[in-house]
């Protein structure tokens, strides 16, 4: 019998599509997005203190890529690598992409995902905890991450929010009232 997919996992075909795509453009875009965010809201990175120089790997378990993040504010770096090449990280957080996105926007509680085994971590636990707490306070919106505000930003946010709710439902992501309410 085939093993059941983890809750919230994307279909394997999406991983097949992503595999050959060039990673550098995504890495550059994410690096610029985080550096821009640090310039607009430097207080978000003050929570990280001594952890800002420590690289953390975030691994979507349903995709053949990993994000190696050094959250050093305006000097932040995001590398997009193969999961096997994230060895420089002091700590790693693993979950399906949709679950990680729910953590990023505050829909999910990290401890609850850990209790239910939807999220796993290894390495220096304090680096992951610090990053998780800083992100949870950030109240990041998709529009803010890409630096769009005003009416265009609100339209973008609504569209991304709607798409995520549909994706969470279709992928059987862990239930929370915030992940399913319209």
């Amino acid at each position: 019998m085939p093993r059941a997919l983890p809750r919230g996992a994307l279909p394997a075909a999406i991983g097949t599509v992503v595999r050959p795509l060039p990673r550098l453009p995504l890495a550059i875009a994410l690096t610029l997005a985080i550096r821009g965010l640090a310039r607009r809201r430097p207080e978000l990175f003050e929570r990280l203190r001594s952890f800002s120089e420590r690289p953390v790997a975030v691994v979507p378990t349903d995709l053949p890529i990993a994000f190696l993040i050094v959250p050093a504010g305006a000097d932040a770096i995001v590398e997009v690598v193969h999961p096997d090449d994230a060895g420089d990280a002091v700590a790693t957080a693993r979950a399906p992409l949709l679950v990680l996105l729910g953590l990023l926007d505050g829909t999910y509680d990290g401890d609850a995902l850990f209790f239910s085994r939807d999220l796993s971590i290894d390495g220096e636990t304090d680096a992951v905890v610090a990053l998780r707490n800083a992100l949870d306070d950030a109240e990041l919106t998709p529009a803010e991450l890409i630096g769009v505000d005003g009416a265009l930003g609100r339209v973008f946010e609504r569209a991304v929010g709607d798409a995520l709710r549909v994706a969470w439902r279709l992928a059987g992501a862990p239930a929370t009232s915030m992940a399913t309410e319209s």
Binding site: L48, T107, D109, A112, F115, S116, D122, E124, N133, D136
Partner: protein, 337 residues
């Protein structure tokens, strides 16, 4: 029941580890929010968590504008030679406009009572004051107005206690559950060399590691293996008191306490009848998603109890947020006796 005969509604005291969580708690229906500074003066001193003095001031303004109180926890025990760190936190909370301080240490209580007589003082659960005599001492010496009771009393014991004390009592009703006497537990200190009661972190993340061994998630604290979870087994916090141990006769189990969350939602009516003034949700280390969901569920529950109506079944609603995926009424019912 005649409305005039009904007891006051329970005050819902909710956790906030970050400014975002404070706003989530306020928006979800908290009557009061409790939080702490970003240092060792409070018992949730986790990396990336807590408030700067400026963030606290902004949080107080947000809460007060919506009729919600802010209680500041400065509830660890001061280090000898560094009491000024705790005194400074008391002063900063007063400047920020806190409605009350939650304290445990005698020197810190003395400073607050002497220098901020206008501030309400609550006795933290960390003081483990569970007898009328102990509570009288804190009341007469420092003028405390409320005691947060240790999580070792049954509802009947709380009712008896309330008949013998003149101040308000507050009890935990949801979240992480210490099975030891708060403020006196040395298990994490033994394993890590860092006392939760002084530095504010039980099982500090700097001393916690997780690894996949033989298909099991293995949790270690200070090098001690404290549990191994099978592939589909719910996990708990990496605390020694919830660890799984093997005895000499090869009996293996959670010998001190099961990895479960406290959930006393079904006991709210009994707690109110026992004279409890406020009910508290644990979880300043949790995300704002937890805060919003738990606060919303308990706000509805305390309102139904105030109307003498049955509460919804919020057990199932909150189970996904619970440690180990399960819950217990803990000492309130003492079913193990």
């Amino acid at each position: 029941m005649d409305a005039s005969l009904r007891p006051d509604p329970l005050e819902l005291v909710c956790p906030a580890g970050t400014p975002a969580a404070l706003r989530a708690a306020v928006d979800a229906g908290a009557h009061s929010v409790y939080c702490g500074f970003r240092d060792e003066t409070n018992a949730r001193n986790f990396p990336g968590l807590n408030f700067s003095p400026e963030e606290l001031e902004a949080g107080v303004a947000y809460a007060h504008a919506r009729g919600v109180k802010v209680l500041v926890a400065i509830n660890t025990f001061a280090r000898p030679g560094a009491v000024e760190v705790w005194r400074d936190s008391v002063d900063a909370a007063a400047i920020a406009g806190a409605d009350a301080l939650i304290l445990a240490d005698l020197a810190v209580l003395d400073h607050a009572a002497a220098h901020h007589p206008e501030l309400r003082l609550h006795l933290s659960v960390q003081a483990a004051a569970g007898t009328p005599e102990a509570i009288h001492f804190y009341t007469e010496t420092f003028g405390i107005k409320r005691v947060v009771l240790p999580r070792v009393l049954s509802v009947e014991e709380i009712a008896r206690l309330n008949r013998e004390v003149a101040i308000e009592t507050e009890v935990f009703v949801f979240g992480g559950l210490c099975v030891m006497a708060e403020g006196r537990c040395l298990l994490s200190s033994y394993a890590t060399g860092k006392s939760p009661n002084r530095v504010g972190v039980c099982s500090p993340p700097s001393h916690v590691t997780y690894g996949d061994e033989d298909g099991c998630l293995t949790a270690r604290l200070g090098g001690f293996t404290i549990d191994r979870y099978g592939a589909d087994e719910p996990a708990g916090y990496p605390t020694l008191c919830k660890g799984r141990f093997r005895t000499d006769n090869d009996y293996e189990d959670h010998l001190f306490g099961d990895p479960l969350s406290l959930n006393a939602a079904t006991l709210l009516s009994g707690l109110q009848a026992a004279g409890v003034k406020a009910v508290k949700i644990e979880g300043r280390q949790r995300g704002k998603a937890y805060t919003a969901q738990v606060v919303r569920a308990f706000r509805r529950a305390v309102e139904l109890v105030a109307q003498n109506r049955a509460t919804d079944d919020i057990q199932a609603l909150l189970a996904p947020l619970s440690e180990g995926g399960g819950d217990t009424t803990g000492a309130y019912q003492k079913t193990w006796r």
